[in-house]
Symmetry: C2
Subunit: 372 residues, 2 copies
């Protein structure tokens, strides 16, 4: 069978305060188009449908619209789980009805052992869980890590295998050897909560959610789909998309999703950034993370830049206060002016110019007059 | 056809801080039993399923459990609307799937004009709405009141009547001539937002939600079901229940719901309330609203009473500060002790006794020593 593997929709996510509803609606439309063009038999959504446990009314309405469209209007079977960002309890509401039209949504560990069978494939839907939930479920208080839990979970799933079928695991966790980006919440820290890949060997394909870059793990049969939208500046250069999985073929195909607005990082001088011969070559409608190389004070800098780049999500200085030398040596024997000259040079890698020296002398003189 | 008419479940409601989950679960079980015993064809829930727009995870799980049980386990058709306490947007999620198993949930004004047809009856599901929603829907900025809106709404519903069938309106508003209790939110104040009964004449039955007493309106064909549980002390003496409506009969029958815990108000002396020959005649597990007739200070009074009545939801004094005379006459020429004696007598309707007089003299003497 053929299915799309997507995850981490994070409906409601903002990029440095900028609402991403348009981006998410556009990415959804592309996923639908890919599903129809490829005539897939199902769509897998591997967790983090919402960005937060308590989504806004607008987000709730938006996700419902997408799922109604996929499942009821386009009759596409859906296989979905809750991720660490979802409230399993809230997302669960209605799922008993959804299954009647082949929208299989599992939010409970107990539901991970009864596969959904579609054509030649058994799908095991394992939601995000924490070790205490596995302790309760298995009645085993020795379970302290996700790794320990996963050994028991997969063993129990394998016991439910129909050997005449293919086996797909849909899950939401951190797989050992993966690399992370800035927009994922590190809920569980520490190597013991990474899932070693050998545990996942019984499956023909493992459709993962949690990490937002589809290159986070490079395994032919175990994949993160990544998010359909860029959620942080660190994802500026990434290609987003979905996996097209064919259970009769050895490797899935990655189908790109075009960004509604690009995410671009620029490190440049204010003069160059505001030069129209330069900025007219750029896609100015993108989200920009700008790092200025200037040292001088630039009055009203954000408004001047926003006049050129309306969606600036971050503005920093390359030589801002973050770049102060970690150790500034101060000789308390020196007179105030010399002390200031040394400090300025250490912080800025340059000496005071004539004008700056004149200002410094005047200020120190005024301060001394004040003391007397 | 035969259906039950209930409303105002208010899942998540508290009674003076006491959680009512057990009461609500028990009332639900009785509603299910009545529905099965009476072999009804459907259950109508006329709004305010939740107590608040943003219900807790526990409340969300609990309402879902009840609706799954009614509709999927017991195959009972449901006809429901959102009330003023529900978030129409949040409650709406999943409703597109629910209709596949005859759970008809309407949360939008636009959905009120396409009847649900079950057997011999057309049900019009009109959710709680505010005048601005009717202004937008009808494109008529003259609509300022619920009454004006209802005239247009009913006219449009009547245009969809199949005259060979019965017509039932399910709605959530304040009908003119109704009486209110303490546990309803008065969202819209003022007579212009009460719906005159003549507007509702075209319907064979109007199943209302909003008011919590089923006697709030005494009309054969227009009824409030009231809430299934007592939500305030002012409902202590009420009988809760559901209406059994048979479209072939002229009047519905009220079927009582037995309270899981009663709500009782007592006005009595502390001595009598804590006398075991008295309190052993009472149902001490009830929720109590107690008004003490005592005037004397009673140390640790709440804990002493809770030892007898564990679920005290309210404790007041009959002669508390609320009963101070509105005018206390003070003659500034009098000496402090006489002034105090007059004040005490006016407030308490009795003179200082010997002990009180001794205390008053000692206090005044100590205060005077302090001044000198």
């Amino acid at each position: 069978m053929k299915f799309l593997h997507t995850a981490d929709w994070h409906i409601g996510k903002k990029l440095h305060g900028f609402d991403l509803m348009e981006e998410q609606a556009d990415a959804y439309q592309q996923i639908l188009t890919i599903a129809k063009d490829q005539a897939v038999d199902a769509i897998v959504i591997a967790g983090d449908l919402y960005d937060r446990a308590l989504p806004s009314e607008a987000n709730v309405a938006e996700l419902n619209r997408m799922l109604v469209d996929l499942n009821l209007h386009h009759q596409l079977p859906l296989l979905a789980i809750s991720g660490n960002h979802d409230s399993a309890t809230r997302l669960h509401v209605g799922s008993e009805w959804y299954a009647n039209t082949q929208y299989y949504l599992n939010t409970e560990l107990a539901g991970a052992f009864t596969p959904v069978e579609l054509e030649d494939t058994q799908f095991f839907l394992l939601p995000y869980f924490e070790p205490w939930q596995a302790r309760n479920y298995f009645g085993d208080d020795q379970i302290r890590t996700v790794e320990q839990a996963m050994r028991l979970i997969v063993k129990k799933q394998v016991a439910a295998f129909d050997t005449s079928k293919k086996h797909v695991l849909v899950a939401h966790f951190f797989a050992a050897g993966s690399s992370q980006t800035d927009s994922e919440t590190r809920v569980i820290v520490g190597g013991l909560n990474a899932v070693p890949l050998d545990i996942l060997a019984p499956f023909d394909y493992v459709a993962l959610g949690h990490l937002h870059n589809h290159h986070a793990l490079n395994q032919p049969k175990i994949r993160y789909s990544g998010s359909p939208v860029k959620f942080s500046l660190s994802e500026a250069g990434e290609q987003k998309g979905v996996w097209l999985v064919d259970t009769d073929k050895s490797e899935p195909i990655y189908i790109p999703i075009k960004p509604f607005r690009e995410v671009v990082t620029l490190t440049d001088s204010f003069a160059h950034l505001t030069d129209d011969t330069y900025y007219n070559t750029l896609d100015r409608d993108a989200y920009y993370g700008i790092t200025l190389t200037d040292r001088a004070i630039i009055p009203d800098v954000m408004n001047q830049l926003r006049a050129v780049y309306p969606h600036i999500v971050s503005l920093e200085r390359l030589n801002g206060h973050e770049d102060l030398p970690t150790v500034v040596t101060i000789d308390p024997e020196l007179d105030p002016l010399t002390l200031f000259e040394h400090f300025f040079e250490q912080v800025n890698d340059t000496k005071l110019n004539e004008q700056q020296l004149t200002w410094a002398k005047a200020s120190l003189s005024a301060a001394q007059d004040g003391e007397e």
